[in-house]
């Protein structure tokens, strides 16, 4: 092995081949996939949509690179988000007492058009995050395919920027629309509680609470190796992949990620505008830096006063447009209740086999 200019190890293509081949050990069992497929086809997966184990991940976005692209305006996407959120139970508000702290824009760096530079905005965001570090991060992610909202994630993470060892709770409510169930329907509600691991940890010992709703055709709600059947709930302790809020150490808007973005010119300021009545700075992601979000373009709106993120739209011009929105809630007793997963009456507890 040779060294690069900074004294780091240089790898060979064979090192890469061997590393990739070693990932074969993660291959799932063919028997279980075949069984699921047979179950799906016997259940008539055709027009009704597949019956499957739904993991705590987004469903297929059905984006095909060679299909004609459907251009969706941001207004359409934003309207779809609003519609999606109002369709969800208990979703009229993310919670009372959302943060509205203000931060000043550090430095006086402005672009030629009188706009702040992306670096100045990013630095202001870093400062703003400090002001909400103990708040609850409420984030939604909405997928709109061909103008139709296909899924919505609602996520509460507390604290928004936990320190190592601090107890962290993350609750996610996932809703989707399928050909069989055209109304946006809540599929699962889950929460993970764990002690925040050190940066870079890949897993945590955590307690998972999962409520799996029936009605959209899924055969189970999967989380790691655990599958909770529809109409039941489970609570298990185990080792799971590490989680992070979006502005936490492992999030895509983490301070480290933002700092890297500043250094590498990941964002550029487009203009000032208003979002949901808030004065906002619109940024557009460039293709610089190792972490850019696929597919471009990605637009990000930051509150011009608080410098907290408001909304991000990804994939404009592609078949599926994804919109993320953020609100930071004070950890009041009422808001902390939002972190709890209510068990629906009549649901029995499912105990996975060990």
């Amino acid at each position: 092995m040779t060294r690069d200019g900074n004294g780091g190890p240089m790898r060979t293509e064979d090192d890469l081949r061997q590393a990739l081949a070693s990932l074969e050990r993660h291959a799932p069992s063919a028997d279980s996939v075949l069984a699921a497929l047979r179950g799906a086809t016997e259940a008539g997966a055709g027009p009704g949509g597949p019956r499957r184990i739904r993991r705590r991940r987004p469903p297929a976005a059905h984006r095909w690179w060679r299909r004609p692209r459907l251009v969706l305006s941001l207004a359409v996407a934003a309207a779809a988000v609003g519609l999606a959120i109002t369709l969800l139970p208990g979703s009229t508000s993310p919670g009372p007492g959302s943060s509205s702290g203000q931060t000043g824009l550090p430095g006086s760096a402005h672009s030629e058009a009188g706009l702040p530079t992306a670096a100045a905005v990013s630095r202001a965001m870093l400062t703003a995050f400090n002001g909400v570090s103990s708040d609850i991060e409420y984030a939604t992610e909405t997928g709109v395919t061909k103008g139709v909202t296909v899924d919505v994630y609602r996520d509460w993470s507390w604290p928004a920027q936990p320190s190592v060892g601090q107890r962290q709770v993350d609750r996610t409510v996932f809703a989707e629309r399928t050909p069989k169930v055209p109304a946006l329907t809540v599929v699962e509600d889950s929460a993970l509680a764990f002690a925040t691991p050190r940066a870079g940890a890949s897993s945590v010992l955590a307690q998972l609470t999962m409520v799996c709703f029936g009605g959209t055709g899924q055969t189970a709600c999967g989380f790691g190796p655990t599958n909770t059947p529809p109409g039941t709930w489970s609570r298990i302790s185990g080792r799971f992949a590490a989680f992070s809020s979006d502005i936490g150490a492992g999030g895509f808007l983490s301070p480290a990620s933002l700092a890297r973005g500043i250094a590498e010119g990941e964002w550029r300021v487009v203009h000032r505008t208003r979002i949901e009545g808030q004065p906002a700075i619109e940024l557009s992601e460039t293709n610089r830096g190792p972490d850019h979000i696929e597919p471009l373009p990605t637009l990000l709106w930051v509150n011009a006063r608080t410098h907290l993120p408001i909304r991000m739209v990804n994939g404009v011009g592609h078949t599926t447009v994804t919109t993320n929105e953020w609100t930071y809630l004070r950890p009041t007793p009422a808001n902390l209740k939002l972190l709890q997963v209510p068990i629906p009456p009549g649901y029995r507890r499912y105990v996975p086999k060990r």
Partner: protein, 175 residues
């Protein structure tokens, strides 16, 4: 027997292990690999007559898998830690032979690559596809593929030995 003559059940029974290995390498995550393959095969089963009529149905299915992987949206990133980027399963214990710190470090860096860069590396260095074939799979130009690859290799500090040899362009066949 030509692949085109296979029924979907025969194809799945014969080729599923290889397809699952590919998905595992592509995603680095057993759960995600299972989800992606499941989604793709369900869709493929509904139009198997068309796919079976293609020259290389398996190559088409792999292309579907790559597209499916690339279409998983950002929320899933929350599950990808800044470490190894693989979902932890207690049934998986580290392979002692592969447990060298350097390889683990390389895998961790691979997990942090943008999905498209990772897909290019997997198609080139695991599947052995040429840049033209990768471009076809991803729906972009070969020059774009080279750009993704060189960027990813630079991030991973991988030295290129030289132009890929023709032998590396042969698709690996695994049963």
């Amino acid at each position: 027997m030509a692949e085109a003559a296979l029924t979907f059940e025969e194809f799945a029974a014969a080729r599923l292990p290889a397809v699952l290995r590919f998905a595992a390498v592509l995603t680095g995550d057993r759960g995600l690999a299972e989800d992606v393959v499941q989604e793709v095969l369900l869709r493929a089963s509904r139009r198997w007559e068309t796919i079976a009529g293609l020259d290389r149905p398996e190559a088409y299915v792999r292309k579907m898998i790559v597209n499916e992987y690339l279409s998983w949206r950002r929320r899933s990133w929350r599950l990808v830690p800044s470490g190894a980027g693989t979902e932890v399963d207690e049934r998986l214990t580290p392979d002692p032979a592969a447990g060298h710190a350097e390889r683990e470090a390389l895998l961790a860096e691979l997990a942090r690559l943008p999905a498209r860069q990772r897909a290019v590396l997997v198609l080139r260095y695991y599947e052995g596809l040429s840049d033209t074939e990768i471009a076809d799979a991803l729906g972009c130009a070969a020059g774009t593929v080279r750009g993704y690859a060189s960027r990813a290799l630079a991030l991973l500090r991988v030295e290129m030995a030289g132009p890929p040899s023709p032998a590396q362009h042969v698709i690996k066949e695994k049963s």
